[in-house]
Amino acid sequence: MLVETGNFMADDRAAHGSLRSDAAAKDDWILKAYRELGVDVVNVSSHDLRYFSQVSKRSPNEPLLKRLVSANIGSESPVAQTLRPYIIRDIPARQAKSAKRIRVALIGLTETDPPPPTGFKIADPAEAAKLKAIEAKQKADVVIVLAKVSTQEAARIAREAPNVDVIIDGNGETFTPPLYVGRTLIVFTPFETRMLGELRFYRNPAGQFSTWQRFIALDEAAIPEDAAIKEFVDAANNAEIQARNNSKGLLSQWLLSGKGQTRDKTEQSESSGYVSSAACNKCHIAQYMKWLNGPHARTANSLLLRGAEFEVSCLDCHASGAKADIGSKTQNIECEQCHGPGRDHVAKPGRGYGRMSNIQTACASCHTNETSPGFDVQTAWAKIKH
């Protein structure tokens, strides 16, 4: 049986905490590798959760989802519903046909950092282990916890959940020898899987289990090159690079749409109803100057520094214009972001255009807890009032 204790997915975050597109592209290949390798049970750590929350939405039938465990990640969202607290594996007896099968329960636990994505919560791992181990013990001969926690946390879990027989823990340390806390054996995954851990189980005539631990060096020099694997790894690397290049290309495309292609841009903008702040400037000079010297006239600057993680969705809050129409987007947050498309108003100026019924709602679409922690609409409005 091959199991994973977690922290195997890339978790590089974009500016506002979402998973970067190049990390997600890489993770798609890691997922494929785990699926094809036939990894039996996978503990979802807090570092892997963000990616799996995406997968469960876009590929709910992904076979690896059925092998995920976590006893302390909770949510109302679909991904948490696919996370079982434990999985029981039936292992056929090796000797006489009459010998009983061995039932092994594998419980998943994760540390609480980094914080989970919105909509998820991570409960205390020892508390979850205590509850689920009692249940699993009634169904299985051996209860194993797969954990991504520190050594001290693993020891606490062992103390508080005595029904756990073995904890296999990824503690992030270079190498920690196996140890016992009470009667619970704790073994640790070697740093970054540079050695493969092996835990052998034996049973004496009295029916008692014992174990033996082995750690197998996985030095690259000793592993013969495999053409199929190399092709797989190359394809994964290319996908990651391609995702980054796509982001940079999209950013360039958007920037170019506002520079050197002014005529096309104007035509595209007008067709979508947006005319840009330059049009407002012709009559509303004071308001235009207020905007020009405020933060909304510079929202594109931060995008230029993060080209590799750029996505079209960044423009929803860093530019104005029709959604999903990159060519019509302005270069910053402009007047029409709040007041609406101004083409008709420019064609026939008059009262009634651009009145806002609810400033709070307009601001809240972009200034969320995630993007603008501590944002206060009254304080912000005082700075840009016009």
Binding site: L2, V3, E4, T5, N7, F8, M9, A10, D11, I30, I91, A93, V142, I144, L146, K148, Q152, A155, V166, I168, E173, T174, F175, P177, P178, L179, Y180, V181, G182, R183, T184, L185, V187, T189, F191, E192, T193, R194, M195, L196, G197, E198, L199, R200, F201, Y202, N204, Q208, F209, S210, T211, W212, Q213, R214, F215, I216, A217, A221, A222, P224
Partner: protein
């Protein structure tokens, strides 16, 4: 309940038969592992004990001097074995 395991400790580490560069790497590995074992034992909390029995054996480390195809060892009649990995993410990033 799992009985505590036993017999004497087995460390199979790179030997000086290898080239100088590899031998140096081997020595570094021995020093690193010895240090980490020592540090871990010194930092163990009350209530933790090393996983060893009367004869002192804790685990087997199959090192780089064993041909790769032999590292999985021999079938000693175990009921089953669990192979485990973790924190693999770091190994999937390019170094440097």
């Amino acid at each position: 309940m799992i009985l505590r395991n036993g017999a004497s400790s087995t460390y199979i580490v790179p030997t000086l038969k290898m080239g100088n560069q590899t031998a140096n790497k081997g020595l570094k590995l021995v020093i690193t592992l010895s240090t980490s074992v020592l540090v871990t034992f010194l930092s163990l909390n009350r209530g933790m004990t090393a996983a060893q029995d009367q004869s002192g054996r804790m685990f087997e480390m199959v090192g780089m001097n064993v041909p790769f195809e032999q590292r999985t060892g021999v079938d000693d009649g175990a009921l089953f074995a669990v192979h485990f990995t973790g924190d693999t993410h770091g190994s999937l990033d390019p170094c440097g």
